[in-house]
């Protein structure tokens, strides 16, 4: 059953555009929601599975977006000391890969630096990191165009040299691209979580001293989780840049991190489906609220929902519903699968 839910959801999402006709407004909302959901899934890897509340997650997303945009736009920047960095445009696919790598590398740095501190310190370090990156994007005008935004970012292209490229200009194409990347990320996270590495993350989250005592290297495990999480966020950022085809420093706003956190917490942190369910709800909620509410009122609703969920379903919608239906949350699924394989 717990395996059927994701499959059913995937089938529904694949079929959804057919049902919607190609309503561009709704498709747009779905694409942006999908991208943010990938961000939420990556955040969940840290927040849900290792228990580290990173409130600077948007930094990785934004770095991915900028790296991908700049790779495909090219740049010519004076570095000082007579040095100049000139880059000719490369295809967006390369940008996507570089975005993933660059964000992952930042994840490594932040992981190495900040996992020396935990709790409140960690939270504040991550916020600070995102803020510094935002200010750099804002002020390094020569590279990032600052508040002017990077415009005319090329749309995503797929294909191989020699076989020709296929430019994903339409919303429908972008929708399926995001869905494909999202599914891939989901599968990767599922694999990871059910592996030895995933158990190490859970061990650290549930009882760090005990985890250390069974030989789990906390810093290494958390850093690797941060790298993977950041890389996925960077991939999502790249999709965002090539879909919207414009990126400005506001991509680093704290509010976006908060949105992702709400998606994860509301859906159920530490579950595979949680961020997906939370992402869909909180990604599409603004679309539903938009005609009836001013944006500031929408945010009030967001805040209220966050608090109410923490009160009523502290573990999130997915585990909450699973418990109500008498089923186990998706994370326990491997146990159910595993038990018959154990020789008695």
């Amino acid at each position: 059953m717990t395996r059927l839910l994701p499959l059913a959801l995937l089938a529904g999402l694949v079929a959804l555009p057919l049902a919607l006709g190609a309503n561009p407004y709704l498709l747009n909302a779905l694409i942006v929601t999908g991208i943010l959901t990938i961000g939420a899934m990556s955040l969940n890897l840290l927040l849900g599975f290792t228990g580290q509340l990173s409130l600077g997650h948007i930094a990785f997303f934004g770095i991915g977006a900028y790296v991908s945009a700049l790779t495909s736009l090219g740049f010519d920047v004076e570095l000082g000391f007579g040095l100049r960095a000139v880059h000719e445009p490369w295809p967006p696919v390369v940008g996507f890969l570089l975005a993933t790598v660059a964000a992952g590398a930042c994840g490594y740095l932040i992981g190495r630096l900040s996992f020396r501190v935990r709790g409140a310190y960690f939270v504040i370090v991550t916020i600070s990191f995102a803020e510094v990156v935002r200010l750099v994007a804002l002020n390094w005008v020569e590279l990032t165009q600052g508040p002017l935004a990077l415009t005319n970012i090329p749309a995503f292209t797929l294909g191989l040299p020699g076989l020709g490229f296929w430019t994903l200009k339409s919303k429908l194409q972008n929708y399926y691209l995001v869905l494909a990347v999202g599914t891939l990320c989901y599968l990767l996270i599922a694999r990871l979580v059910h592996s030895r590495f995933g158990r190490a993350m859970r061990g650290l989250k549930e009882n760090e001293s005990l985890a250390l005592s069974v030989g789990i290297n906390a810093t290494r495990t958390l850093t690797v989780a941060a790298v993977i999480s950041a890389a996925m966020a960077g991939a999502a950022g790249s999709l965002y840049a090539h879909y919207l085809r414009i990126i400005d420093p506001d991509v680093f706003l704290f509010a976006t991190t908060v949105t992702m956190v709400i998606m994860v917490v509301a859906g159920g942190k530490g579950t595979l489906m949680g961020p997906v369910v939370g992402g869909l709800i909180f990604g599409l909620l603004p679309v539903a609220l938009r005609p009836v509410m001013a944006p500031e009122a929408q945010w009030i609703v967001y805040g209220l929902v966050l608090i109410v969920i923490l009160f009523v379903l502290p573990r999130g919608i997915v585990p909450g519903m699973a418990a109500r239906l008498g089923r186990r949350p998706a994370r326990s699924a491997p146990v159910l699968e595993a038990s018959p394989a154990v020789p008695q």
Binding site: L210, A211, I216, V335
Partner: protein
């Protein structure tokens, strides 16, 4: 036999408070040694120093000839020195089976070279099956097979201790440090546990335990080390310790009722490391 663990003039101070003063003793390979003393004598602190959770203010601990100075807890475990905890001995949100699977972290590490990559590529199949078999065997050994699918946090206190032991055993240690393993167990559970300890030793694993249950200590130990106010006051076989005037003085001095109270309240007592 040679010493597997040497505590070499170790001292620990918290601010001005002396938790351990110049502690010096050895544990020989294959022994069962108990570390006893009234509450607050520094027993758990000593454990925390041996397993890298606390840095000693002076002295050092050597395990199989290797100095543990500066080693992180996980690195010490990898050398073959495992421990259990007094209060929080399980991963509460996971099933008993998954607890042991987490405990098999190191063993799993030996099975695959690039664990994260393997996981991402889904190449971990064979190793996983081996691990599961091993986890099941371990649970069978400690007698928790029937509880395999229950949430560890929901188990009775005594059973949680057993999970803790299974977790420690999962690291395939050469030596095991047990912190009050039978607290919360009834008499028959304790008897079973004593048998388990002996079996563990028969497999060549050296044991050092901290315990308040004196009859159990006297029954199982080859040798006993007594601490009071952070100092070693006596060391020897059970019979000698039973009649040692310094030991009697230490325990009586604290008052037997206080001892009882301390014992029953230890669940809420603060441990330095987990406080």
């Amino acid at each position: 036999m040679s010493a597997i663990l040497s505590v070499d003039h170790v001292g620990v101070r918290f601010g001005g408070l002396v938790a351990i003063a110049d502690l010096h003793f050895d544990v020989r390979e294959g022994e069962i040694v108990s570390l006893i003393g009234p509450n607050g004598a520094g027993k758990t602190t000593a454990f925390n120093v041996m397993t890298g959770f606390l840095k000693p203010s002076q002295g050092e601990v050597r395990f199989r000839g290797t100095s543990l100075k500066g080693l992180a807890p996980h690195a010490i475990t990898r050398l073959g020195l495992a421990r259990t905890f007094q209060r929080t001995s399980v991963f509460p949100d996971d099933t008993v089976f998954d607890n042991v699977m987490i405990g098999l972290h190191q063993v799993g590490g030996r099975l695959g070279r690039a664990p994260v990559l393997d996981a991402l590529l889904g190449r971990a199949g064979a190793g996983e099956r081996q691990l599961r078999a091993r986890a099941a065997a371990l649970l069978d050994w400690v007698g928790l097979s029937g509880r395999m699918h229950e949430k560890a946090g929901a188990l009775a206190y005594g059973e949680q201790r057993l999970v803790g032991v299974a977790l420690a055993l999962a690291t395939e240690p050469a030596m095991l440090l047990l912190d009050e393993p039978v607290s919360g167990m009834n008499a028959s559970e304790t008897r079973v546990f004593v048998r388990l300890i002996r079996q563990v030793r028969e497999r060549g694993i050296t044991i050092l335990l901290v315990e308040h249950d004196m009859p159990m200590v006297m029954e199982v130990s080859d040798r006993i080390v007594v601490l009071n106010y952070g100092r070693l006051i006596a060391e020897g076989p059970p019979d000698r310790i039973r009649n040692d005037p310094a030991v009697i003085e230490a325990y009586l001095g604290q008052g037997s009722s206080a001892r009882q109270a301390a014992k029953s309240a230890h669940g809420s007592a603060r441990e330095p490391v987990h406080a």
